[in-house]
């Protein structure tokens, strides 16, 4: 069977890492073209050296390229602002879909292990944030067992792995992740915190998930979390539970005051994760980069499998 041809817009860290993953890991996809806007860019040169088509005048350039009609999936690894323009072009080609790795989120959020089935017919899906891809599966895992009132996540990443885009728009991370904790994770209220740690050697990405849920069978929560961890590991091998799941009962008399919810009590669950990257383009500490590109790749693979 022929593999589905794909293109990447944005030859930066994310685009380049995704390209390498497509070359090494893709089952049903074939990397075809890399699109940039700077002919001198290192990422475009690298793509060209690997033998892929390169286009240095943006998505318009790709549309007029001979390979355009064969390309069915486009990964957008640029910026939110650029994504609006890209979708304007792609939406008129009904045979193509776009996987949005920017914070634009024109289409619905998609976390492959959580809500693929709801969104796989949509032609523009958004990959939330790196922290969202890492933590929302855990919020959803708890929510499968007990109603989650509140989901809070803390993502700590190495300073070296935070690119200029992330740094200039840190609110986009906290706001987008918090919204997706609610809309896909299932929490009534979500909160996201991001910390940059400059330690050298760089620290591996860590994610901590706190949920406040109804009281529930703790072993059922543990089982649900473990099963979800395995699901994510199928496309991010370096994703792991760093500690056993921790629990604490918050009795009604010690209810906590959560902004937007008021006083709540129940079961506090703490999940401590470590996300180590595959080391494809950036070193393994950059699990934040890896989980984003891996989730995008897994989503595209699933799209193709669903079509066949």
């Amino acid at each position: 069977m022929n593999k589905t041809k794909v293109a990447i817009i944005g030859p930066g860290n994310i685009g380049t890492d995704l390209m390498i993953k497509l070359m090494r890991n893709a089952q049903h996809l074939e990397m075809c073209a890399m699109v940039g806007i700077d002919p001198q860019s290192e990422g475009l040169n690298r793509a060209s050296q690997f033998g892929f088509y390169t286009v240095d005048n943006g998505l318009q350039g790709l549309v007029s390229h001979a390979c355009w009609q064969d390309i069915k999936i486009i990964f957008d690894a640029t910026s939110a602002k650029a994504h609006y323009g890209h979708w304007d072009i792609i939406k008129d080609f009904p045979d193509k879909r776009i996987i949005d790795l920017t914070p634009a989120a024109i289409g619905p959020y998609l976390v492959p292990t959580v809500n693929f089935d709801e969104s796989h017919n949509v032609r523009n899906v958004n990959m939330v944030t790196c922290g969202g891809q890492a933590t929302i599966p855990m919020v959803a895992a708890v929510n499968q067992v007990a109603k989650v009132h509140y989901g809070e996540i803390v993502a700590s990443i190495s300073s070296k792995s935070a690119g200029p885009g992330t740094r200039a728009n840190i609110d986009e991370f906290t706001q987008t992740t918090a919204r997706a904790i609610e809309s896909i994770g299932g929490a009534e209220k979500g909160k996201a915190i991001i910390i940059l740690n400059p330690a050298d050697p760089p620290v591996v990405m860590r994610d901590t998930i706190f949920t406040l849920s109804d009281e529930a069978d703790r072993s059922a929560i543990i089982a649900s979390v473990q099963s979800m961890v395995e699901d994510v590991q199928s496309y991010v091998p370096g994703y792991s539970l760093h500690q056993e799941v921790q629990f604490e009962s918050i009795p009604e008399a010690q209810a906590v005051y959560i902004e937007g919810l008021g006083k709540r009590y129940g079961l506090k669950t703490t999940i401590l994760l470590k996300v180590e990257g595959a080391g494809h383009y950036l070193p393994p500490y950059a699990g934040n980069l890896d989980i984003m590109t891996s989730a995008a790749l897994a989503t595209a693979e699933k799209f193709v499998q669903n079509l066949n």
Partner: protein
């Protein structure tokens, strides 16, 4: 900002922000209002109110407050006649939306806080504060983790985004007196003359007042302090002690020493359920260079997992944990348990 032309320093009180930490962010609205009004009457120049970890810091990671920041701030601006109502925001926790909310409640001044090497994540927030017409400072936390010259470059970035003032923030109370001086001098070397310099100390090595004075002697104009030192770890520079020093040193300021002594002893000290003092645990924060706010969370983890607080704090220091990584306290505790077993 409004400045008394005769005053040689700008005293900012942090009892109602940093001072949230020792009481797990549990001030009642009434306490906030009483303390703010009394501080205003005692002519402190600025009063900072927020969750200890800044706007919307209320969380499992840092502790939920007794109220939201908005509830704490509401109605305070109208009660102040001298002091500037201030707040603090840590990008990555709070957002520009939160800043706008605070401004709408009458907050006139804000500190945008980042780790000492990450100033560039504050650009949008500092610019937004300027657009909102606010007085804005950059607040470079864990200043001991960056060299004087590199820290000054970070300060320069904050100045370039529009900060009126940049602080050397010794969050771990780990800086020695000469290290404070070096950092202030490095700031003075590269910041514009009109950009003010601020100092925020913690008392973990008993240097709260000494370091503040050292900074002032080198050119720091905005001095942070809190009543009875109410703040994370061994607390901040105790305001009433600082004012006594300034009086004896003949440095002009606006504050009323006796009034501050009274609030410190009559109102604040009785609130300190966990004594705010230099002891084995808080000294360990300064000694290991650990974020002072980790104190209560580490004490809780030590109790829960049967470990020694100092051992946890030392390990956090070894791992170069930065401010905000409170989630790593339990992680470290669990790792220590594994090694012990």
């Amino acid at each position: 900002m409004t400045e008394n032309t005769t005053s040689q320093v700008y005293l900012q009180d942090v009892t109602l922000r940093d001072g949230m930490h020792p009481i797990k962010h549990q001030y009642s609205k009434e306490q906030i209002s009483t303390i703010a009004k009394t501080l205003d009457k005692a002519k402190v120049d600025a009063i900072e109110i927020a969750h200890g970890d800044g706007l919307t810091g209320g969380s499992f990671n840092y502790g939920f407050g007794s109220h939201s920041d908005w509830e704490w701030l509401e109605g305070i601006a109208g009660e102040l006649s001298h002091a500037v109502l201030t707040t603090l925001l840590i990008p990555g926790i709070g957002t520009i939306e939160d800043l706008k909310h605070a401004q709408a409640l009458g907050v006139k001044s804000v500190r945008i806080a980042t780790h000492s090497t990450e100033a560039d994540i504050s650009a949008q927030h500092i610019e937004s504060a300027r657009t909102l017409g606010m007085d804005v400072s950059g607040f470079l936390m864990m200043a001991h983790m960056n060299s004087p010259s590199e820290l000054a470059k970070q300060a320069k970035l904050m100045e370039s985004y529009g900060a009126h003032c940049v602080y050397v923030t010794d969050s771990a109370g780990a800086l020695l007196m000469h290290e404070v001086r070096e950092r202030i001098l490095a700031f003075k070397d590269i910041l514009k003359p009109e950009t003010q310099i601020g100092i925020h100390c913690h008392h973990n090595l008993s240097l709260g007042v000494a370091n503040t004075i050292a900074a002032m002697e080198e050119g720091a104009y905005r001095l942070d302090a809190s009543l009875a030192g109410m703040g994370a770890g061994a607390g901040n520079c105790p305001l009433e002690v600082l004012v006594a020093y300034l009086n004896k040193y003949k440095v002009a300021h606006n504050a009323d020493l006796f009034a501050l002594m009274d609030i410190a002893d009559d109102i604040i000290r009785p609130l300190q359920t966990r004594p705010v003092q230099v002891d084995r645990e808080t000294l360990s924060l300064g000694y290991a260079g650990v974020y002072s706010s980790f104190l209560l969370h580490s004490e809780k983890a030590a109790l829960q997992y049967g470990l020694d607080t100092r051992t946890i704090l030392n390990e956090l220091g070894k791992r170069n944990m930065v401010g905000g990584q409170e989630d790593m306290i339990v992680d470290v505790a669990l790792d220590l348990l594994k090694t012990r077993n």
